[in-house]
Amino acid sequence: MSAYRPEELLIAVIARLLAGTRHVAMGVASPIPGSAALLARDQNGGLPRVSILGSPRHTFWSDGGKELFDCAAQGRIDAFFLSGAQIDGQANVNLVGIGDGYPQQKVRFSGSFGSAFLYFMVPRVILFRPDHDRRVLVRKVDFISAPGVSEPGVHRPGGPYALVTGKALFLFDRAKQRFRLESVHPGVSIDDIVANTGFDFDRPAQVPVTPAPDAATLALIRGPIGREIAEAYPQFAADILGIRTAA
């Protein structure tokens, strides 16, 4: 087995989650999802199309920021990524702040961005948060930027599909409204997951280990994918994937 960085494992994990999609989009500051989407594309004969906000080369949008949301509402985006300062067991996402007394909470984050809309519209929303601890993965979020589940009758073609952390992969069961532990990353124990996860989740009797990226995958990541992602994320490409660019 080849040596690989944690980021490379995550890129490979996420790429597998994107199999079968036609169009994957992501917001700003998403180098790992961006690399994963490009990897999925290269491993699946050219699909999905990858749209990276802020990357002229990977953005066909020419009608302003609204075009992303319009596309999502029309079902023209199959997968998207969200993160969260807090994520809870019902897949609620908090991007706003920690503590009571909104808006004067103890800690304030950036804000909800497009989450309150895209989470409803995009069929495969992948929650991505490398930190895996009880600070992030909580029983109940302090502010629901975007809810994981909705009442019957609410128009919701989209929603949570998976949660990828630095320790494990969960899939979300929409019927049960719960996460199910799908695999733990190499070297991580179940006890570690239980100890560091603030919400209850389902798991199989035998939890598989997340497959490590093989040599061919790593070569792709460190070669063409790295050079391509460097346009949008030169720092990431340099520091993590070892890509040096002229700029």
Partner: protein
């Protein structure tokens, strides 16, 4: 008559104005923002389209802002927006949290002269819970049981942004940055800075005309070379990463921010512009 100085331009932004601003790297008028701060404005209400960054953090930190409607404020890869977070948690600025497509839709409602636009999603989000001005109705076009949200039209008093080109008639070239078109259409008036003022009309070249915004919407333009600095300007230049990182670091403390303001805004006109 349409082309005026930077100081004349920002003098047209009244205290208390609802100010429509584009996101970082989409044409932020940073030189104009520094000029604006030098006249020590008060009570501005910011409308981020749809997010804010260094400009918003700076205006808030300088005490110029009473209210902000935004989908998020951050310095992106340079970290959190410290002055924004401080102001929200301390309650010194009123915040209306929104979500990006709602920000767009509220402007599109104003653009179309309709009282509201409908939007999907949002139901169950605390963003909606805290917005008394957003209303959930049952879709009147469906048979029954299809709740959706109506968003009111929002009309900024002034849209302020930076573009690559303008002509002497005050037409500006926004290129692919169509958000600037929506923002200008929705706003009562638009003030723009331009990297370069060209002779002749933007409408003389069909290729440029496709990305032009008419002086019908733009009441004044000022020339500002490197007018988005230290932020990137689409198609022209990248972020000045060192300068933004220095801001991000300084803005973490009151003293650091005051020092940054003194040096980059108030120290000298040359340095500031």
């Amino acid at each position: 008559m349409s082309v005026i100085s930077l100081d004349e331009l920002v003098a047209r932004i009244a205290d208390g104005a609802l100010l429509g601003l584009p996101s970082d790297r989409r044409g932020v008028a940073m030189a104009a923002t520094r000029a604006l701060l030098r006249r020590r404005p008060r009570g501005l209400r910011l409308y981020n389209m749809p997010t804010g960054g260094m400009q918003t953090d700076l205006l808030i930190g300088a005490g110029a802002v009473a209210e902000i409607e935004t989908s998020g404020v951050s310095l992106g890869e340079f970290g959190a927006a410290p002055r924004f977070a401080r102001a929200v948690t301390s309650g010194s600025v009123v915040i209306r949290d929104a979500t990006c497509p709602a920000i767009h839709a509220q402007l599109q409602a104003a653009e179309k002269g309709v009282p509201f636009l409908p939007i999907r999603g949002l139901i169950g989000s605390d963003v909606l819970t805290h917005r008394a001005d957003w209303r959930v109705i049952d879709n009147p076009m469906a048979d029954a049981g299809d709740p959706l949200v109506l968003l009111p039209a929002v009309t900024p008093d002034v849209a302020l942004f930076h573009v690559a080109l303008a002509d002497r008639d005050g037409n500006v070239w926004v290129g692919r940055e169509r958000d600037l078109v929506t923002l200008a259409h929705a706003s009562r008036t638009t003030l723009a800075t331009a990297e370069k003022i060209i002779d002749g009309s933007l409408y003389d070249d069909e290729r440029l005309a496709a990305g032009a915004l008419s002086n019908f919407y733009v009441s004044a333009v000022a020339e500002a070379k490197h007018g988005a600095w230290p932020l990137a300007q689409p198609g022209l230049y990248e972020d000045d990463a060192d300068a933004i990182a220095a801001y991000a670091s300084a803005a973490k403390s009151d003293e650091g921010f005051a020092g940054w303001l003194a040096e980059h805004v108030f120290a000298s006109r040359q340095a500031a512009q």
